[in-house]
Structures are given as structure tokens and as C-alpha cells.
């Protein structure tokens, strides 16, 4: 049946997110929070995250461009991004942030620049994945609460 195919697709997609380490347990927690009072909670939160994190990334970009680099500020900004990433369970993104901060602490500017590219890449990649995911979800309609396969 169409729905079951869709559900399967959704379930598989989500499973892959977890298997490949893009998302972690926290994402389930957010899904658990979704209820009748806030039926689109997960998508709202994710949207909010990407909006805010994009802003942060822009700030980091600017900070990296300013010379001499202020590692303290870079570290602080990345700390914020990391904290934000943890809110939706963006595990891989979180890790990339941590690596960046390590470079910051060592004041390794090349490392920072390289790592920042990775951060941006992961951020964009996750965004795309989740957009696809929610698109599928919308297709099955508000009836269905996200499947918790693999939990």
C-alpha cells in the first residue's frame, strides 16, 4: 500500500540517519515531545535549529575572516553551535564542532579553517537530509507520528 511504502521509506531513512551517526538519541527525545498540542513539534524545532545555526555559521565565517583571529571568540561561537546541535541530536555536526574547538584551543588557524569547511559541509548535508525526511513525513500526513524504528 502506498502509505506503508512511504512509512517504510521514512523508517529506513531515519534508521540510516542513526546508523550513520548523523543523529543520536536526542532526536528521539524530541519526537517524544511531539503530541496533539504540538503536532509539528519536531519539524518546528529542526527548522528553528537550522535558522539559528545558519546565523551562527555566518558569524563564525566572519570571525575567521577577521585578522588577527580571535580564537576565544571563535571558540565561544563554536561552543554555541555545538550546544545548538546537541539540541536536535545532530551528533556528527557536534563532533565536527568539537574538532574545530580543539584547533581553536591550539590556535591552529589552518586547522580551524579546514575544519570549518567540514562543519559547514555537515551542516548543509544534515539540513538536506532532514528536509527530505520531513517532506516524506508531510506526504503521509499529520496522522502519523514519526516511526521509531531502530529504537
Amino acid at each position: 500500500m502506498e502509505y506503508s511504502t512511504l512509512y517504510n521509506q521514512i523508517a529506513m531513512m531515519k534508521k540510516s540517519f542513526f546508523d550513520q551517526g548523523f543523529l543520536d538519541e536526542q532526536f528521539y527525545q524530541i519526537e517524544d515531545l511531539q503530541d496533539d498540542a504540538s503536532p509539528n513539534f519536531v519539524e518546528e524545532v529542526v527548522t528553528l535549529f537550522f535558522r539559528d545555526s545558519s546565523r551562527l555559521i555566518t558569524n563564525i565565517d566572519q570571525a575567521l575572516g577577521k585578522l588577527p583571529q580571535d580564537f576565544g571568540r571563535l571558540d565561544s561561537l563554536m561552543h554555541q553551535l555545538k550546544g545548538s546541535a546537541s539540541s536536535i541530536g545532530a551528533a556528527k555536526l557536534k563532533n565536527e564542532c568539537t574538532v574545530f574547538r580543539d584547533f581553536c584551543h591550539k590556535e591552529n588557524i589552518e586547522g580551524c579553517l579546514r575544519q570549518f569547511q567540514k562543519v559547514k559541509k555537515e551542516h548543509a548535508s544534515l539540513r538536506q537530509k532532514l528536509e527530505n525526511y520531513f517532506q516524506l513525513l508531510r506526504q503521509v500526513g499529520p496522522v502519523e507520528k514519526a516511526n521509531r524504528s531502530g529504537k
Binding site: Q29, I30, D32, L33, E44, H79, G83, S86
Partner: protein
Amino acid sequence: MHTSFYLTLLSSSFSTTVTSSSAPQESMENPLPTSRAEAFPAGLRVLIVDDDPTWLKILEKMLKKCSYEVTTCSLATEALDMLRGKRDRFDIVISDVNMPDMDGFKLLEQVGLEMDLPVIMMSIDGETSRVMKGVQHGACDYLLKPVRMKELRNIWQHVYRKRMHELKDIETHNIHEDTNILRNGSEDPDDRQYVAGTEMSSVRKRKDLESKEFVDHEFNDPSTVKKARVVWSVDLHQKFVNAVNQIGFDKVGPKKILDLMNVPGLTRENVASHLQKYRLYLIRLQRQNEGRACSGNLSSDFMNGENRGNNGFNSSTNIQSESELTTYTSTTENFQTQGIVPSVHISEPKKIEPVQIIGSKKVPSNDVLCASKINNAPHLSVLLSFNDKMTDIKACEPATPKHKPLLSGTPMMQFMQYPKQESCNILSEYSCLTYVDQNLDPSFHQYSSTLPAFISATCTSEKDVKDLFEMKPVLTDYRNGHFTAIPVQVKRGAVNAQDIGAGCKVAGSPSIQDCYLNDKYSQGYFPLTYEFSLNGETEADSLPEDVHLCSLQKIGSIENLGFSSAEIYQYGDSTPTTDVESNWYDSSELNGEYSYDPVEYPLIDEYLFA
């Protein structure tokens, strides 16, 4: 620096809230007290502060799922406004540590001091030092992000616990309050009686009310029992500080403060909790100001006339406020403003070999201040104690090979630095030193801009030592005073109480040559000795500044020894000082009977040796 405590004594609300179980003025925010009480912890009013919008949304949802009443806020300043705007609007505050407009710890402090609400800190950073810092600043819990539902579900326990304590305090101290109030009749009989009357009745009322509620509700209904929240306004706080200064830190107690403050409607319990917070606050402030975190493991015993026998002198001289130390160390260059002889960072705990102690054996836990034993030691040895890293200085026997030089008869100088206060009074300085609060009353700025006071005394003979002893009683008398100028006493040959009493005596102009750093101690203890030529009793504080400068310059030479102000007090925010403390305590005869409470500052003893 800090802004003084807020001032607003809700005297009216004090008596009124006694009888009401919720804030009637803010009733629109609060559901009916009884219903809320019955449903406790449901309906718990939570204020959540986080600059991350995603987290704010998530946490809000989570808290709502716990049936709590949630208010969100993304700025610390906004949160404070909310809290101040309507008292008793919230039961608990949850705040992230990293906020853009204000340090989360600062917010934590403010809320704790002003509103006395339980505050939970949150962060993605779970490093022990951070958590410790949170606890030090008064957080009742520290949650790691990502936060789980079950953790949030349990936050009500902090509210409950606090209420329970309040109840207990109220009940156990009601009697004291009543007695206290009744006894405060002298100054203003009419007023007092009136106050006593109202106080009694309101206290009784509250007690009755709370007892009743205690009985009625299974939970003792802490959610509905509202302690009258005293808002510590600037005036009130000033009174508080004045009272504390007057009493003398080592003798301070909530009841005494309350008596002195003479504020109608204020309870001993209010004062007690405020005192506690104040102490912590001052310590932290001091640390920030001085750029160093002082270990606050000093118990107040230290200064509490722990003088054993002859310890008087030593103890008093030993007392050194933490602030002094900090300022001292942090401003090797900027002596002027800090005026504190930098403490030398002693990395390894070493015992200071016999230190001549003047008459007393008081050894502060932090600073090994060895009161020299008069004995036959013609000299005084003062140990320069260094905050945090002080090695223990033991009271030493008069004769030790190491200290042979000390026995040479060269006068030793005892160094004491005290933050400059208003009056040049050594004795008062002592009290100031021992009592952090005094140093750090709302006019903190004063402190940071004052020069340290030096007190030096040298004895070259037994008589001198005896004289020094005499200092003690004199000193204690002045405890409560304030001191301004830097008292410097430089004497060689004789010290007499009068001189000390006079406060500032600078004999001649100390010359740099006179100051020397003695780095002979292999133990790593850095003795700082000053030798001033004694010109007999001189008046006034002719050259306190100079003296300081002298010492400073000398201190500067400390750097030659490998110490730098940067090294000094390399104290992490949350680094516990317990390990350092162990270094201080030594089993010298002076023994560390001193334990400082966080408010106390370690003494800096200068170890003098000829």
C-alpha cells in the same frame, strides 16, 4: 565591579506575606494557592533562561510535559527584570551557563542573593571545573545538555527542599527572634517596643500559619508556604555591612547583626541567610577582582580569638585578608592600587623551618604565620604566607640550624598587609583583614584602590616581644574600627602597644636596601623581609605609601626568584583548595587551628629572618 545589593525591604510585604500563602499581588500569575499546593509539584512555576532558541523551545515543551508552568527568556538581563519585577512569581529558575549578555554564574549569584530562589544551571559543558563553579556560585543543580525529561521532572525537589529549610529555620529561630526583638530595647524604646510587638505578632502568625500548613498538607505544602522575602536594598545592605564591621567579623553572628541593624521587620533568619550569601559573594567578587580564585577553605575560627595564649599578636598579624593577598599578587606592578604585597607562589608545600613566633602560636591555616615564641628568640619571624600555595609554615622552635640567621638578633619584621581602609588603624585593620566582609562592603571599589597596610614590628629583645604581646589586646580593641591609611610600623628594637595603637608609624624612610628578599629558604618558602631602621616612635603614617612601595619594589624582586604575579594565585575558578590546604596545615606547634571559612583570608606572614 559589582553593584551593590538591591535594596528594598518589603517590610510591608513582610508582615503581609506572613499570613498569605501566595503573593496576592501577583495572583494573576499564580493559580490559587491551595490548588497549586495540592497538585505540587505540578504547576511549579519555572523560569527558563537560554539564549539558544532551539533549546528554549525544547525545554519549554519538556517542562510543560511535566505539568510545570513555564516562562521562557532568552536574555539574562530580561530574566532578572522579570524576577525583580514581580516577586514570588517563580518557584525556580533554570539558566544556561553561557549567555551573551551576562555570565550565567553571575545571574545565578544575583538571583540567589536577591530573590533567594533555587537556580539550576545548564550547559553542554560538563567539565568538573565548570560544574564546581556552578555549585560554588550557589546553583542547586547542574544539568548537562542534552537534558532528559526525567531530570526536569525532578527539579521540584529543589523547591521543596528550600521550603523545608525555610520552615525549619523559621520554626527554630522564631524563639530567638522573639527574644532578640524584645531585648533590643535600648536605643529606641518606643520604636523597639512597637516593632517588637508587631514582630512578635507577625512572627507568631507566620509560625502558626506555617505550622498549620505543615500539618495540613502531606508535603508540608512548601509550595504554598511563602517565606517573607526580604529584598536587600542598598541601604539595608549597608546597614548590614556596618553592623558586621562593628561587631567584628570573628564575632559576627546573625543575631548580633540583626540587633545592630535595628531594622523593623527583619528577622534573624533573613540576616543569617544573607550573611551566608554575602560571604560567598564577597569571596567570589574578590577572586574576580584580584584575578585569582582564592581557596575559600578558611574557617572563621581562624580569627575568632583563637589566640592561644600568647597568640594574640601573631594571630592578628597573621590575619590577612584574601583580598590582600590577591591584590598583592596580582599587582606586583600596580602596587599602588592594590597595595598588597604579592604573595609568592610556592609550588611545593614546604614547611618552613622554625619560625620565630611572637608570643603566640597561632598558625593560620593558609598562612603559616608563626608567632614567634618569645623564648629567647630575640627576633620575630614572620612568615609570609601565600595564599593558596602557601607552604606550611610551622611555628618553629627558636633554634634551628636553618634559622640560625634568625637568631642573630637582627630585628625581624613582621609584615602584615592590610587593605587600606578609611582609618589608619592597625587594629581595625586586623579586623578588616579577618573579615572579608569588612573589606568588601558595598564600597568595593574602595578596597581595590587602597593600598595595603603594612604592619611591621620588630623585636629585638624580650621586652619587645612582650610589648608585642601587648599589642594584642590593643589590637582586638580596634577590631571594629575602620582603618584608612596603611599602618606601618617599623620598629627596630622596641615595639610598644601605643605605637601600634597609633597605627601608623613609619620610622624614617625605608630604604630599598633595607628590604631584602631572603631566598635562603630552600624549602621554597619565600620569606620577605623588610628591615626598617627604627627611629623610635614616630607619629603618624609618614610614609606608608613609601613603605609599601618599598615593599613592592622588593616584592618585585620576587620575580627574580622566579615568582611572578601571574604565578601567584594561579587559581582556577573551581579548583578546590583542599589539596592546597593540606599543605598549609602542618603539625607545627602552632598547629593549624585555623581553618578559614571562605570569607577569611589567609594571612600573609612574612617570615623574617635576619
